[in-house]
């Protein structure tokens, strides 16, 4: 990405460096799930005031280690110590009493109740007559004030956007002045401004002596806040390195166990392909007004915008999953009268949702079925599904998209996040969609898988299709897109073409000079 | 008792009617009551409900009827003891209660019930038991092995069985009841009866305590190809039971209380009570009829709509 160029390996840290007793420690822990060894004899320790990054590819075991440290699970072997004392099977309650606060990777909020209630869950303030609701609300308000986030604590969580929910989750971890704060991919759903909010908070807490364990696939964040990084691979700790002393290439090499290849995807300033998608004056109540743009065959079209700027709504409206309140959508030159989901599907529009786990995959079904689901007809022979046709079709796609799976009939839930995402994209290649709308396809996937996804997008575009790419990680738009549209204040405001797409101009455009927040 | 508000001469009369369950018998009662009202050229609104054999539902309906001040209540009580409070409540509110078919315990009848159109279940079972004994004697079976398809979630059925078994064993002391299983609804009855025939291959007869049980029993005998070996004695006439009885190969006798007749008698008793006429006799006997093969055709003719 944007970091150092040299390839010098950094020296491993001296583990015996005297810093007093670690706040949290894992000694020789292993965790075995049926059929998977998620952790294999891991030793790990984190000290007060330290910001430790935990790095590794999807499925390396990062979240598993975190679950052990937070008492959610007890290890199959080895032990966890918090503040020098064994956690045993004290569970979440004991870990939390020892000062561990965790923001889990999978959103763990209760949708039907308020934000304030979610923060208080499991430790409601007691008043004279049962729970003291006022204290609960006050405490929640104070927490978000400290965090600098604008969240209505009386709102029901179900009504919040994914990003707001993520901030609530972070707020919950922060509220009790923890001694060890664990953040498992806290920023994967966030855009730049909110990311800064989180990073600032982490820095502030670290300065106060709180230990922070931080998981992210975004290397630039790691560089901003972490002192040291523990790299994991295949359930083992490979090495703990100093961030300052190691370049990104080296860290990636540690993560994937091989030399990273220099990869960049060719971008093109202009395409002469046919206009596949043409949106005119589209209104999507309540967020978007008068959106107009065109997308051509062979193009990777990025859409940038702040959190809540309506990118998701735009894609949903185009795919027919959200009624447009005005304007027209045309596919390959012909205006679609009633853009329902099935109509758009038959016209060759496919969308991958931003919430991969919640709305992307059907966990119990095989990888192959998750792929062919978009078009059963193509793998049917005489009205019945043909196992042979399914196998042929999915094997080809798995190869093309480099989906790492021994057996495509295994449930998709056994795949790592990045590979799940590839399977969801494959779904639309199977349906032979001409217009692919990818909403945050790189969220929560490791660096390597990200690069693969950029290349998939390029390869798909090269076959005469249009790829629309939405990402909250603004820095990846310049890497992958031929053209980037910027959504702001309910409409498309600016357009950039390769090679004039760069991080600073996109950020500038997304935030608009006047209202720009001061965080960066 | 206090003359009633909602009743009255000339105006519309409101009468509450409670049915015990949804067997055809109660359809007959309904028709009988209705016919009687029409014949009387009175304008009567019936406020009706089915207690489905559930005392709590009955209690709630009785309460509703009582508090809405109907002129009289015609009911088939769910339980001799369990239904007492509901009947008492109505009676204490000055509403005449007329039982048909089933009623509350004798004490309570004395105190709270105006009239009871009764087909005595003991006699109901007993008549059939006698007929069964006659049949077996004629067939030369002195120690019949009997199976029973019962409806014992209703108390009245236990009485029926008592009457039946006493009459049969009195005549044929060698009688044994080798199986007794629930089957009030015809679909349970048919598979239970089939299984009973499997478990007891030497069965000589089956007693069906209610309509569904009867149908189930003779259907099972046909299915198992035991025609001529197993005789069925049943209760409650319906069109298809009449047809089977006319055939005569399996179903030998059916005992029945006409719902229509019971309904008519109950309505008459209700009118008397509303008019303030004291009945001579609290218990009004409902005719209990025994039907044999020869009578079946006649029943079908006189009951073209199938209502018993």
């Amino acid at each position: 990405m944007s970091e150092s160029t040299a390839g010098t390996p950094a020296p491993p840290l001296d583990p015996a460096r005297d810093r007093g007793a670690p706040i949290a420690e894992a000694r020789g822990v292993s965790q075995v799930y049926p059929g998977v060894t998620a952790l294999d004899g891991v030793d790990f320790a984190v000290h007060a005031g330290e910001v430790r990054a935990l790095l590794g590819q999807n499925g390396a075991g990062k979240s598993t280690l975190i679950r052990l440290l937070s008492g959610v699970e007890t290890p199959s072997a080895g032990e966890v110590l918090l503040g020098g004392r064994p956690l045993g099977d004290g569970g979440v309650t004991a870990a939390s009493a020892a000062g561990v606060a965790t923001c889990y990777q999978e959103l763990s909020l209760v949708p039907g109740v308020t934000v304030a209630e979610n923060l208080a869950m499991g430790r409601w303030p007691r008043g004279r007559f049962g729970i003291d609701t006022r204290a609960m609300v006050e405490r929640a308000r104070a927490t978000f004030e400290r965090l600098g986030a604008d969240i209505d604590v009386l709102a029901e969580v179900a009504g919040l956007t994914l990003a707001q929910q993520q901030i609530v989750e972070i707020g919950r971890a922060l509220q009790d002045d923890p001694r060890l704060l664990i953040l498992d991919e806290p920023t994967s759903a966030l855009a730049a401004a909110e990311v800064d909010l989180v990073l600032d908070t982490v820095k502030r807490l670290a300065a106060q002596g709180v230990a922070v364990l931080y998981v992210s696939h975004r290397m630039d964040e790691i560089r901003q806040i972490a002192d040291t990084a523990t790299v994991m691979r295949n359930g083992k700790v490979v090495e703990t390195v100093s961030i300052a002393g190691s370049d990104t290439a080296h860290i990636i090499e540690l993560m994937i166990g091989a030399d990273p290849e220099e990869r960049a995807v060719a971008t093109r300033p202009a395409t002469s392909g046919e206009v596949l998608l043409s949106v005119a004056d589209l209104d999507v109540a309540p967020k978007l007004r008068g959106v107009s743009f065109e997308g051509r065959a062979g193009e990777v079209l990025g859409i940038a915008g702040l959190l809540g700027s309506g990118r998701t709504e735009l894609l949903q409206a185009i795919a027919g999953f959200r009624p447009a309140s005005g304007g027209t959508i045309a596919i390959a030159g012909s205006v679609v009268d009633r853009p329902t989901a099935s109509r758009m599907l038959s016209l060759g529009v496919g969308m991958t949702p931003e919430d991969r786990k919640g709305r992307g995959v059907v966990p119990g079904l095989g990888i192959d079925e998750n792929i062919v689901m978009s078009d059963f007809g193509a793998v049917s022979r005489g009205g019945a599904l043909s196992a042979g046709a399914i196998a042929t079709a999915t094997r080809a796609l798995a190869e093309k998209l480099n989906i790492k799976a021994h057996d495509l009939s295994r449930p998709i839930s056994t795949l790592s996040g990045g590979n799940q995402q590839k399977a969801v994209i494959a779904r639309w290649l199977h349906a032979d969609s001409r217009v692919l709308l990818l909403d945050e396809p790189t969220r929560g996937v490791d660096v390597e898988a990200k690069a693969q996804i950029y290349e998939i997008m390029r390869a798909v575009a090269d076959t005469g299709k249009l790829v629309v790419f939405v990402s909250s990680e603004v820095e990846e738009l310049p890497l992958a897109c031929d053209r980037v549209l910027v959504l702001r204040d309910g409409g498309l405001r600016e357009e950039f073409r390769a090679p004039d797409i760069s991080l600073p101009v996109l950020l500038e455009a997304s935030m608009a000079s006047g209202e720009r927040r001061t965080t960066r | 008792s206090i003359p009633n508000a909602g009743g009255g001469d000339g105006g519309t009369e409101r009468i509450g009617a409670l049915y015990l369950d949804s067997q055809g018998f109660y359809g007959g009662v309904k028709k009988g009551v209705q016919d009687a009202a029409d014949a009387d050229s009175k304008k009567v609104d019936f406020i009706e409900s089915t207690s489905a054999g559930d005392v709590s539902k009955e209690s709630s309906f009785m309460n509703t009827l009582t508090s809405s001040g109907v002129s009289a209540i015609i009911m088939s009580a769910v339980s001799t003891d369990g239904s007492v409070p509901a009947v008492r409540q109505a009676s204490e509110a000055g509403i005449p209660v007329i039982c048909y078919n089933t009623c509350v315990s004798d004490d309570a009848v004395d105190q709270y019930v105006t009239a009871w159109v009764l087909g005595d279940p003991l006699k109901f079972g007993g008549d059939l038991g006698k007929q069964a004994a006659e049949y077996f004697t004629e067939a030369g079976v002195t120690d019949p092995q009997m199976g029973v398809i019962n409806c014992e979630q209703y108390e009245v059925c236990q009485q029926r069985f008592k009457g039946f078994s006493e009459a049969l064993t009195a005549a044929l002391p060698g009688t044994t009841f080798v199986a007794n299983q629930e089957g009030a609804e015809v679909d349970t009855a048919v598979s239970t009866a089939e299984q009973m025939l499997s478990a007891h291959p030497d069965l000589d007869g089956i007693y069906g305590e209610a309509g569904g049980a009867t149908v189930g029993a003779y259907k099972a005998v046909h299915t198992r190809g035991l025609v001529g070996q197993v005789a069925v004695f049943g209760s409650d006439m319906t069109s298809d039971i009449a047809a089977e009885l006319a055939d005569g190969s399996v179903l030998k006798a059916v005992v029945d209380i006409s719902g229509i007749e019971a309904g008519k008698l109950a309505f008459a008793a209700a009118q008397d009570a509303i008019d303030g006429t004291e009945p001579d006799e609290k218990v009004v006997a409902a005719p209990i009829d025994l039907y044999l093969t020869a009578d079946a055709a006649g029943w079908s003719e006189t009951h073209p709509d199938g209502l018993p």
Partner: protein, 348 residues
């Protein structure tokens, strides 16, 4: 190559800012709180029903009928308080009818055959009810048997036990005994069971909103995994929940025995469906995580009113079942439609 696309369109209002003023606050509350919409809807429906029945059903608006209505409501309502929590927790209990019936038998047997004093017999019945409820809870929480199946099994077992133990005959209560008549009497004019029901609603409304247990129930129903991560003892809450439900069934059984003067193993047939329908009509989501006791209370009144009105209007007894079915579905349909977020993608 930067081009500004459309600098004119007016910016929308910044999100998240609370609206000012009382009106705004009420509107906000409404928007936020979908259950409130349901409650108002139900209230309107109940008022309309009342008006209609007052003018069309003879004897409806009499003290006697209103108090009878309350008695009927109590039978559904007491169990419905617990059922609300059960459904909020994402579970279901279909064993209510047999539980009530068997409890009425137990209290009667305890008094007549074992000679226990009334209060002791009642206590015993409540404990036994809580016991079989807890059993269902353990099956659900520890052995992961779906609650529908666990309570369906219980349904079968309890109904059978009651009928087997009594030969399906009623067990009369002793006559010269003061407690049971009190339970079927009135307190300042209000039928005792109705008073018990109202107390139960107040208690459970408090429990649901103001106790850790109640909030845990909401949390578990909304997201059980999240509740566990927050340190809530999910299994324990579930077990307690079903135990409470069992106890409430037993309480209804005691009141039923008092009303009928006997314990009846065949009584309260299908009660569970009325109870569940009342809860769902009251706006509690069958998928869990959402619901209110106020809504349930109105649901109970609504469903009792329908039953009472159908009888008083002289509707054919078989048709009553048809009308009830239609009305229940319509009520829930209305409810779902009212509370559905406009333009929401969510479908499930």
């Amino acid at each position: 190559m930067t081009t500004t696309l459309d600098p004119t369109t007016a910016p929308t209002r910044p999100g998240g800012a609370p609206r000012d003023g009382a009106v705004g606050r009420v509107r906000d509350t409404f928007r936020r709180n979908t259950t409130l919409v349901n409650i108002v809807g139900l209230l309107v429906a109940i008022v309309l029903l009342y008006l209609y029945l007052m003018f069309n059903a003879v004897g409806f608006f009499t003290v006697a009928n209103q108090s009878g209505l309350l008695r009927d409501a109590a039978l559904i309502g007491i169990a419905a308080t617990g059922m609300t929590l059960v459904i909020i927790a994402g579970e279901i209990d279909v064993s209510t009818g047999p539980a009530v019936a068997l409890s009425s038998v137990i209290v009667a047997v305890a008094m007549t055959q074992w000679g226990l004093p009334a209060l002791l017999a009642i206590l015993l019945t409540l404990v036994v009810g809580a016991g079989w409820g807890a059993l269902a809870g353990v099956l659900r929480a520890r052995f992961l048997v779906p609650s529908f199946i666990a309570t369906l099994g219980l349904w079968s077992v309890l109904r059978g036990l009651g009928q087997f133990g009594t030969d399906a005959l009623p067990v009369p209560l002793p006559i010269d005994e003061p407690v049971m008549p009190f339970l079927t009497g009135t307190i300042v004019g209000v039928p005792t069971p109705a008073v018990v029901m109202i107390v139960a609603f107040l208690v459970f409304a408090f429990v649901a909103r103001k106790t850790a247990f109640g909030r845990s129930v909401f949390a578990i129903g909304g997201n059980a995994a999240a509740a566990r991560l927050a340190g809530i003892k999910v299994a324990r809450v579930r077990i307690v929940l079903f135990a409470i439900m069992g106890m409430l069934g037993a309480l209804s059984g005691v009141l039923l025995a008092a009303r009928l003067g006997s314990g009846n193993a065949g009584a309260a047939n299908g009660l569970e469906f009325d109870v569940i329908a009342a809860v769902v009509i009251g706006g509690t989501a069958m998928s869990g995580g959402r619901g209110s006791l106020v809504g349930t209370f109105l649901g109970v009144i609504f469903i009792t009113l329908i039953g009472n009105g159908l009888v008083l209007l002289g509707v054919d007894s078989f048709l009553q079942s048809v009308v009830r079915g239609v009305i229940i579905v319509l009520a829930v349909l209305l409810n779902v439609t009212l509370s559905r977020k406009r333009g929401s993608l969510e479908e499930n």
